[in-house]
């Protein structure tokens, strides 16, 4: 379970890119956990939102890249709305998704054939459009 961290890892390319395109400074976060306490998607997450930020602070690129949390974030912005340090985690989650999708492609995150005709007949367009925009590389 030992994890070696180093200067090059803490300032690694991937985490630097996440910081750059999200516009968020992970080091503003002091890990109070308020975001995690109020996040509606935690049940389906493997890392709490605050842990995702912690992994980024440590530069643990592989763990962050493989986490499930970014994919179940609903961009509801509750984390940001209550963050005592003004960190917008919804932007960090989006940055992770976007970089991942750009790196490895859609990976079958969303597939219209997964849904029944009845479901598609009732689901509003905004659900499909935003779903596809969130889960396809852009």
């Amino acid at each position: 379970m030992k994890t070696v961290i180093s200067r090059s890892q803490v300032k690694g390319d991937f985490v630097s890119k996440v910081a750059e395109i999200s516009g968020e400074n992970f080091f503003n976060c002091y890990q109070c956990g308020n975001c995690s306490a109020g996040c509606p998607s935690v049940d389906e997450m493997d890392l709490l939102p605050s842990q995702v930020v912690r992994y980024l602070q440590l530069g643990l690129e592989e763990e962050v890249k493989s986490c499930k949390s970014m994919w179940v974030c609903a961009s509801c912005m509750m984390c940001h709305a209550r963050c005592p340090k003004g960190v917008d985690i919804s932007k960090i989650m989006e940055a992770l998704r976007v970089l991942r999708l750009r790196e490895v492609g859609a990976e079958g995150h969303i597939d219209v054939t997964d849904f029944s005709d009845d479901y598609l007949a009732r689901a509003p367009q905004i659900a499909m459009i935003s779903g596809y925009r969130k889960f396809l590389p852009l």
């Binding site: 999200s22 049940d43 509801c76 009732r122 367009q125 969130k134 889960f135």
Partner: protein, 291 residues
């Protein structure tokens, strides 16, 4: 008085009832929703990373069209469209670099001149809830309404500025103007799961369950929303919720314009309630809101 109006894709089809009722009611209230010409989809997402500009080209074009058609305001009914257009407009106003990139790409001249308004905001700030109250023909007396805001109508508060985040009141004030009884419930600003409805269904089901339970436990007869995605999640997830929680009792979820229409005495049969999975008619009849 005419207000330029952006319906958006969903309101043209699956949420037609939200749109129809909104337009009809505006006529009763003395203004007209003047549909923007040649509008396109807003994109339904505002990009949350700063190197992604393409998704802003659509909403920027809509805003530039609004301006070029001689308007300085644009009204929306859908929370998603409202959020996307409003936030895009903020970028056009405040972020010179991104503005230039996007307007150069779509070859339009736009600097954020249009004010994006939600219909509720229009009723509160331009028409006035006191005027609305006077125009009510059939007050929603005794109807206990859970006013569900969700995310996009409010957040991010600093950018949207419609109301406060934890304890907003515009929706409750609206229901009071209609003569109904807004009930407080702790989940009114929580998320319904949003687009996870087409990805992580469990998230949408669980989020919707928590919201609906909370509304029901607080004594609500009906939940209202401004958002077709919220309406879909909250309404359509109920059979699934019931499977995992047999004690769950269903509650209808309707659009705010539908209740507005009833209070203004528009015929209930024209309001599209038949599209709801959980039929609101029994409770509306029981409460005497419709005959």
């Amino acid at each position: 008085m005419k207000y330029p109006y952006f319906p958006g894709c969903t309101l043209y089809t699956k949420a037609k009832k939200l749109d129809d009722a909104g337009r009809e009611c505006s006529l009763k209230l003395g203004f007209e929703l003047d549909e923007l010409k040649d509008w396109t989809c807003c994109g339904a997402t505002f990009p949350l990373v700063n190197d992604q500009h393409i998704t802003m080209s659509g909403p920027t074009r809509i805003l530039a069209d609004t301006k070029d058609q001689g308007n300085d305001k644009l009204v929306t009914l859908c929370s998603v469209c409202f959020n996307v257009l409003k936030r895009t407009n903020n970028v056009m106003l405040n972020d010179e670099e991104r503005r230039a990139k996007i307007t150069d790409f779509i070859e339009r001249d736009y600097h954020g001149e249009v004010e994006v308004l939600h219909y509720l905001q229009l009723l509160r700030d331009e028409i006035g809830f006191d005027v609305l109250k006077e125009k009510v023909v059939k007050p929603l007396e005794g109807l206990k309404v859970a006013c569900y805001y969700g995310c996009l109508l409010l957040r991010p508060v600093k950018e949207i500025g419609l109301d406060t985040m934890e304890d907003p009141s515009i929706f409750e004030d609206f229901i009071r103007a209609l003569g109904g009884e807004p009930i407080e419930f702790p989940y009114k600003v929580e998320c319904c799961g949003a687009f996870q409805a087409v990805h992580s269904m469990d998230t949408a089901t669980r989020c919707s369950r928590d919201i609906l339970r909370s509304a029901k436990n607080s004594g609500a007869d009906v939940v209202i929303t401004t958002c077709p995605l919220c309406q879909f999640n909250l309404d359509d997830r109920q059979p699934e919720i019931q499977k995992s929680d047999p004690g769950f009792s269903s509650i209808p979820v309707v659009y705010f314009t539908q209740l507005l229409a009833l209070a203004l005495d528009l015929p209930a049969e024209e309001l599209g309630f038949e599209r709801n999975l959980i039929d609101p008619l029994p409770i509306l009849k029981e409460k005497g809101v419709i005959a």
